[in-house]
């Protein structure tokens, strides 16, 4: 879409749980904008997120370039500081911290380097501002997702890496989530989103990367894959079609 230099460049990224190879030399490039990673359960989508983010396990090897800077092999706090914000699957809030504390704890240096501070996050999610004294566990699923996104935004990332953000959310809440994602994308934040639901993935990003058994099998456009029932059956299992239409 854009002729500018690539934002994220993953080259030959492999990951292992012990002896088992879960990612097999994954390579792809993300320019400005957004892309979604789709695939069935157990194809290595979450492992890919963890490997990009430098979280162990898995043990990973290979190259991850963000704006030309090599991040492969770096610890995850360095990767976060370099500009990748991670929104993990299942939100993964801290059980002992309140909403407000989740936001206030992010390091001052990261907050100061961009436009996202605590007030800006509350501005984006006014609902969170009303729940600032509740602990993460007391929030609804949608609010937890907002908080996980807000927490990642505070590090003022160049790229947001989101793992199954729509999981467990009602359709109306998913719509709100998509709206937020589009807003962030329009502000220039890159989005790389793992999404099980093909319909949601298609609305999130035009570009879809299909993962099969630890490899990117197919690099395609959402419209194309949504029309190609045969490919859907092959890569995603036929039932994803129905859920895709529903959302």
């Amino acid at each position: 879409m854009s002729s500018e230099a690539s934002m994220l460049e993953v080259d030959g990224l492999s990951a292992f749980y012990g002896e088992a190879r879960v990612l097999d030399e994954i390579s792809f490039t993300l320019h400005e904008g957004s892309a979604a990673i789709v695939g069935r359960n157990g194809m290595g989508k979450t492992t890919l997120c963890r490997a990009i983010m430098g979280i162990t396990p898995p043990d990973s090897e290979g190259s991850v370039l963000l704006d030309g800077r090599e991040l492969g092999g770096e610890p995850s706090y360095v990767i976060c500081s370099a500009g990748i914000g991670y929104v993990p699957q299942g939100r993964e809030l801290f059980p002992s911290l309140t909403t407000d504390e989740h936001l206030r704890m992010i390091g001052g240096r990261l907050v100061a380097r961009g436009r996202w501070d605590v007030d800006a996050v509350y501005g984006l999610f006014p609902q969170l501002a009303r729940r600032r004294r509740l602990s993460g566990a007391q929030l609804s699923g949608g609010e937890q997702q907002m908080l996980a996104i807000g927490r990642a935004l505070l590090t003022n990332p160049r790229l947001l890496l989101m793992d199954e953000p729509s999981e467990g959310l009602a359709p109306a809440i998913v719509d709100e989530l998509l709206e937020t994602c589009h807003r962030l994308r329009d502000e220039g934040i890159g989005l790389l989103v793992v999404e099980q639901n093909l319909g949601v993935a298609g609305r999130l990003a035009d570009r879809l990367l299909v993962m099969v058994s630890g490899r990117i099998e197919h690099d395609t456009h959402a419209a194309e894959l949504l029309e190609d029932e045969e490919a859907q059956r092959r890569y995603l299992g036929v039932e994803s079609m129905a859920t895709g239409e529903g959302a």
């Binding site: 983010m53 430098g54 979280i55 162990t56 610890p75 995850s76 706090y77 990767i79 976060c80 500081s81 991670y86 993990p88 299942g90 939100r91 993964e92 809030l93 801290f94 059980p95 002992s96 911290l97 504390e101 206030r104 704890m105 992010i106 390091g107 001052g108 990261l110 609902q127 602990s135 993460g136 566990a137 609804s140 699923g141 949608g142 609010e143 937890q144 927490r151 990642a152 590090t155 467990g168 959310l169 009602a170 809440i173």
Partner: protein, 343 residues
Amino acid sequence: MIRYRGAWTVGTRVVLVLVLLAVALVPAFFSTYFTGAVALKVLWLGLAAASLTFLSGQGGMVSLAQTALFGVGGYITARLMVFEAMSPWLAALIGVGAATAAGLVVGSIASGSRVIYFLMITLAFAVVAYLFFSQVSTFGGHTGINGVFAPAPLDNPTLKPTAVYYVCLACCVVAYLLLRYVGRTPFGLALQAVRDEPARANALGFDVRLHRTLAFALAAAIAGVAGVLATWQTTRISPGTIDVTRTIELLVVAVIGGLYRLEGAWLGAFVYVLLDTYLRGLSGRFETWIGIAFVAIVLLSPGGLAGLLARIDEEVRRPERKRRRRRRRRRAPRLGSALRRTG
């Protein structure tokens, strides 16, 4: 779900002020012996235990090195005062600085490990420190260093303990407020996040080892201050002050008091010193009794005495809580409970 920082309600504030007032009036209403030998020890032992409570409650690090760090503070101060005739205040400052530096070193080594390994590394340091101070003759070897007299009017803690007592109390109050304050800063919150889930905190840009090391150094400074105060109160320090028995003693004090509330440290010290002082005279089996008390408290209340008090407090306020919760449910979010995920 463990919240380290109890919220300060109006009731808690009133209780804390009353307790502080009572503690401040001890020299006026109790005997010199009680003030000098019991209350004063409660203060510095509680201070040392508070450094452990902070580390373990907020940082998830149960350290066995606190007594040794306490010893570093005490020993360096005593050595400088007695053998170098240095000004006691400067000596104390250097002693606390040495404890902090030792904390930085030990912390940077131990911060990479968790749970049992962390425990073993800190225990190893405790044993090394004990052997070092008991073998090296510059620190007095087995006899230790005697005649460590603080500047007047702190120089006679046995007969005139009041001044020492207030200095100690001031240190405790400052340390308590400081640790509470740190708990609320972004650093403290991040430390708690690191305790809850190191990998998640790491992915949010926190250098987990650095955070744990800095927290360890802060706790070491507090332990060092306690060591200086203890040395001034007893006017001496010897290897017996920092051996493994003392290390265990400090752990027992902190656990009896409760590892999840800072106040618990002094509460634990209070109970321990009382039993130590008065039960030892009545029964030759003090260790047995304190052991039974320890087991009973751990079984009855994992949060120690402070946790027990908090629970009683909660029981008393229960009706009010319930009402509030019901109100909250009524204006609950429009998203149904089906969407609710408990993290």
